[in-house]
């Protein structure tokens, strides 16, 4: 009887501990969110934050418009490079990816996701920055594209694989060539899942600092030309947060808040898209 009582007690204690661990896991998330909102809001309440560029320390009205432009240009270019490549690779993995090439692509993607982003920065520096002798937004975009590619490939693959085989067989049965089946029949049915993957990759790229440090480098001015050094929101957070000036630290917090809002929005959007993919797959 006492033995049984002890077993029940340890069961309850263990259950409590597991619940405690689950609760502890939410503490850092809420702390990061609360403090970023509280510290970042003062910067965001001034409209100049979104319309002006950096000002010398002490002069009011500084903004991060140049960083918005830089992030949009670089992430846009990176998306143009990596998303089409990634989608085609993902389709290839599903349609023909049973052989050695498919295995190599899958392994390469899984491994690339784990490569430290700073190493990708070094790679692009040696490849594009050192030979051309200057930093550029374009090299930053290529670094981000390298980061995005494996994410897009693997999410496209899993989204396309979710499409029921009957759809593909129906297309082949009426005599459509393989490329029309893949691009006009299967891919449209997988769009929500593919969009999810692309969105997650974009969000990841928009928040990355390390690969931009010595490729895009950063810039104090509004730059639209990607062959010049370009600023980006994460670079602003990194550089300004480490200065001793309260103005710049406030700007850094503001930029951090913008980054967090952006990531959360993309995550919510991708969840909605994923749910649509699952219901779509169920309907087919």
């Amino acid at each position: 009887m006492t033995r049984n009582w002890r077993r029940q007690l340890s069961n309850q204690v263990a259950r409590l501990l597991v619940y405690l661990m689950a609760a502890i896991a939410l503490v850092p998330l809420s702390m990061v969110l609360i403090y970023t909102v509280v510290s970042g809001l003062p910067a965001l309440t001034h409209l100049e934050f979104f319309t002006n560029v950096e000002r010398p320390v002490g002069i009011p009205g500084a903004g991060v418009a140049h960083a918005f432009v830089g992030t949009i240009v670089m992430v846009g270019l990176a998306s143009l490079m990596s998303i089409p490549l990634g989608i085609i690779s993902g389709i290839q993995l599903v349609e023909y990816g049973t052989g050695r090439v498919g295995d190599a692509v899958r392994l390469a993607c899984d491994v690339m996701v784990g490569i430290p982003s700073i190493a990708i920065g070094l790679f692009i520096y040696a490849l594009l920055v050192a030979p051309l002798h200057h930093f550029s937004g374009l090299s930053g975009a290529v670094a981000l594209a390298v980061l995005m590619l494996p994410v897009v490939v693997r999410t496209t693959e899993s989204a396309v694989a979710l499409v029921p085989g009957a759809l593909r067989e129906a297309g082949l049965a009426v005599g459509l060539p393989r490329w029309r089946v893949a691009l006009q029949l299967v891919l449209p049915a997988a769009v929500p899942g593919v969009v999810t993957g692309a969105l997650l990759a974009v969000a990841r790229a928009a928040g990355e600092t390390a690969p931009l440090l010595f490729t895009a480098f950063g810039n104090r001015f509004m730059i639209f030309d990607p062959t010049k050094a370009m600023p980006a929101l994460p670079l602003i957070v990194f550089h300004d947060a480490l200065t001793p000036y309260p103005d710049l630290v406030r700007t850094a917090w503001g930029a951090a808040l913008v980054l967090i809002i952006l990531t959360l929005l993309v995550n919510v959007a991708s969840r909605v898209a994923l749910r649509r993919q699952i219901s779509l797959a169920a309907k087919l």
């Binding site: 689950a22 690779s89 349609e95 784990g114 440090l213 990531t263 959360l264």
Partner: protein, 314 residues
Amino acid sequence: MAVARPALRSGAASRPPDGFRTVTTVVSLAAPVVLVAIVLVVGSGALPAIRHFGLGFFTSRAWDPVRDKFGALPMIYGTVVTSFLALVMALPVGIGVAIFLAQQGAPRIRAAIGTGVELLAAIPSVVYGIWGLYVLAPWLLIHVSRPLSTRLGSIPIFAGPALQTNLLIASIVLAVMVLPTLSAISRDVIRAVPSGMREASVALGATWWETTWKVVLPAARAGIFGATILALGRALGETIAVTMVIGNRHDIPTSLLLPAYTLASAIANEFSEATGTLYPSSLIFLGLVLMLVTLAVNVIALLLVRSISREARV
């Protein structure tokens, strides 16, 4: 009407040319080609330093750009210590979360906690950095580091004087950042344990915890190990957040309350101002070491996790 029928031969010879297949296959080779290019380019960038220092690079504590003497020991030490401590802190929480998420019942609370932990992975590294620097570091200094160093200062790992940016806070920030990796994969592995095993254990009269501890967790052991190694890969390579909170000092402190350096943060801090040949090359050498270690760690983890999911499918 006679329709020409293709001969019913098998094998590639009879297959009509499939341009789509060729094009997509060539395009899909982009990922492996880029991977090989990364290793080759970074490796060749490190060559001057490899030739000049050889294996002595790993045992030297020197970091003197003026005299062109470089060694990686302090960075290797900082990287290993912070990653190890981060795993020690994140493991109990991560497995607790995984057990919680893998069990039945309370779907709303489970969804909330699952989403919360996933969002941790979505927050950019630099945001963890600024939070760690301005929120966690001052709090930790007053409530943890200083009391530790004044009361337990005689123990070498808590020796003072405690500083704001140190090994301890870097480890805590890393622990938060690897938590999603750890809990998401562990949850999948725990879910993959056949329900028959669980049911058999419960049918024998075992409590929930006895079933979890003696049946489910041992069955998922290899997968949880894989998740841990994957998390280790993340921790080793994490750059920006660590750079902002570790203090960036070329030193090998025994105390956790003193600043140190990691491989990634040394590159992030110094590469854009490194001049000459050996200085940047040494930093690239650090990057090469970091990359090869994380590559090896990731491949091991992938093989472990894959073998689990294959077993579960059988």
